[in-house]
Symmetry: none
Subunit: 194 residues, 4 copies
DNA sequence: GATGAATGAGTCTTCATTCAT
DNA sequence: AATGAATGAAGACTCATTCAT
């Protein structure tokens, strides 16, 4: 990648981050290409230089964020700590992302309404990859005796579901900070696994 | 209410049920008044005879379904059974609704994007009322020694969050039937309370 | 006309008076058949029993009011008083109507925008008849030496124009009562004729 | 203002002039954005590129024309001629505008039916400014002994009312040219002031 | 690379009108 | 005579997308 390409890549990422914000604030339909461009002090037309169309822009938003998140949870998995501790950290990390990158997580909720078939399958696959890291943590915990669940997948879905739901109520519940929430959630959700 | 009014009320309900289906299938923005009318073999104009505008139609969808659900969970609360059993039944019932009335539950996810301020507060209030029934079951269970949680509200949010999330994956996971899912979820989520 | 017909005729007149009010308040396009019906505690459908369509209703409004006005100015003309006095009274009466029946006079301003060709010619004819009474007063005044104008028609148009324009500003100029306005207008406008 | 901006400004003015024509021909409600666009060989969408909405377009029509007219009558006021001559010229000019720019003058008749409150007050203010120039001419004439009226404002309203009314009948009265009409009107209306 | 301008399909909404009862 | 219900055509407005410059 030469300098020019690097510059373009950075610009693209800037756009994706801004787009995420606006989409989360106004929803997919509420966020117009105009809005997104304005936030970046660009014109609509310029967006089309970098992205083929709105869906493409959206898809790349999704991809960027979920990639980063997957990478980080993958690293938690590789650490040399107990499975309980891994799960606790993964839950905590996930909650932080759900709340702070709320933006993009909204897009994840109903991809069928937004994306076309080709994108959908890519998205679901990427999502599975992310979830599978949690599965691996659980599997490892079972093997070393820390956890004891039969329906592993379902337990994982309960955990992620509970945790994804936080964004539904978080903003309005001003008295708790993220750390406290994460502690309580981890405490209760770990009960499920034991 | 005379015959004519009864007929009109039934018609309104018919419309609301059909509207729910389409909205869940296509999302709020994807569902046009045209679509909804077509599904009912009506014309757009007729829809506007019964509802002031799209938001009004949507709000009444939401209200109808959540009312019914609240009533039923309220009845579970009043039954003469253990708190554990109550919570198990409430979870099971809720899961059934989430899956079968998936339609309307989608509307609940991001009401700010759809409804205007007056409706929003009504919606949130109605939602709180529903959630409070779960709170009462938990409270009762604590008082009679069946449950032992400190952060009651958060426990309830974990439960409802986990359970609401089911709709995200249910359709694609064809091998489990609702009953089985509900059993497993109830089993694991009750662990949180004890 | 038997009793039934009489009753219907009275009802029709009631409708016309109410319609006038609403039309003047909201304009021709702003006044919906619904509005008009509501003011009369009727339903839209009932209006169509009495009038073929909106234009018909409007036309009959116009006809009713202008007939009454013509009749009254015609009577002033026949009185046994000086032409100056006649014109003064005619102007005063006209101003009163313009302000008090403002309602219907608005409809007169731009009939082409409202009525179809058949109605238009009837309306213009009726209007001409009204104006011709003023012409006759002027003619008489010239013949008996009270007035001295060459361009009689144009003088009449100046008078009626000045006077019709009152409705444009009347409501906002709260400090003058109709009588005072009429006096001043008559004083100045009579100067034109002498 | 650079070249591009100048071009855009000219385009906007073009649009306003065309819009005026159509509005006067078909009335505010009769003139659709589609019509206006078609007249300009544009699409509806393009219109919305230049104006926020229909009311905005209308308001700017009004503003443009009334500004120009005010400026010109203001210049008549400043000329070094007798008050009688000034009033004669002002009346003549006003009549020319009423007839030739008939288009826009119609919009002035019932602004309440068209404009929202913010615009209304701006419009009334601009109108007052225009009328006040006539007031100043009258005042000056009184001071230098040419005119002798007590109710100055009302005299001004008679003059402008008479003159505005011309558009009601002008088109149908084909045998007089504007100049002749203006002469007669000026002659008679000046009688009011002396 | 970027912009201003334009397009056109689509969406909500309104309303005069009709008609069975 | 009157009503509730329904229709359908029309209109304002939005927005993703395109393209010449």
């Amino acid at each position: 990648m030469n300098l020019r390409e690097k510059k373009a890549a950075r610009k693209k990422e800037d756009i994706l981050r801004s787009a995420s914000k606006i989409i989360s604030r106004r929803g997919y339909n509420g966020a117009t290409m105009e809005n997104i461009a304005a936030e970046l002090l660009m014109t609509k037309g310029a967006l089309y230089y970098y992205f083929a169309n709105k869906e493409d822009l959206l898809y790349q938003c999704h991809y960027l964020i979920l990639s980063e998140v997957s990478k980080q949870v993958g690293e938690i998995y590789k650490e040399n700590i107990s499975s309980t501790e891994k799960m606790k950290r993964a839950i905590t990390f996930h909650i932080e992302v759900v709340i702070n990158e709320k933006e993009t997580f909204n897009m994840i909720i109903k991809p069928e309404l937004i994306f076309s078939d080709e994108h959908i399958s890519l998205i679901l696959q990427q999502r599975d990859e992310y979830a599978s890291i949690f599965d691996k943590i659980i599997q490892q915990g079972i093997e070393n005796g820390e956890f004891a669940v039969k329906e592993k997948k379902m337990a994982r879905m309960i955990i992620l579901g509970a945790v994804n739901w936080i964004q539904q109520w978080y903003s309005s519940e001003g008295d708790k900070n993220i750390e406290d929430i994460a502690d309580v959630y981890a405490k209760y959700l770990l009960k499920i696994l034991t």
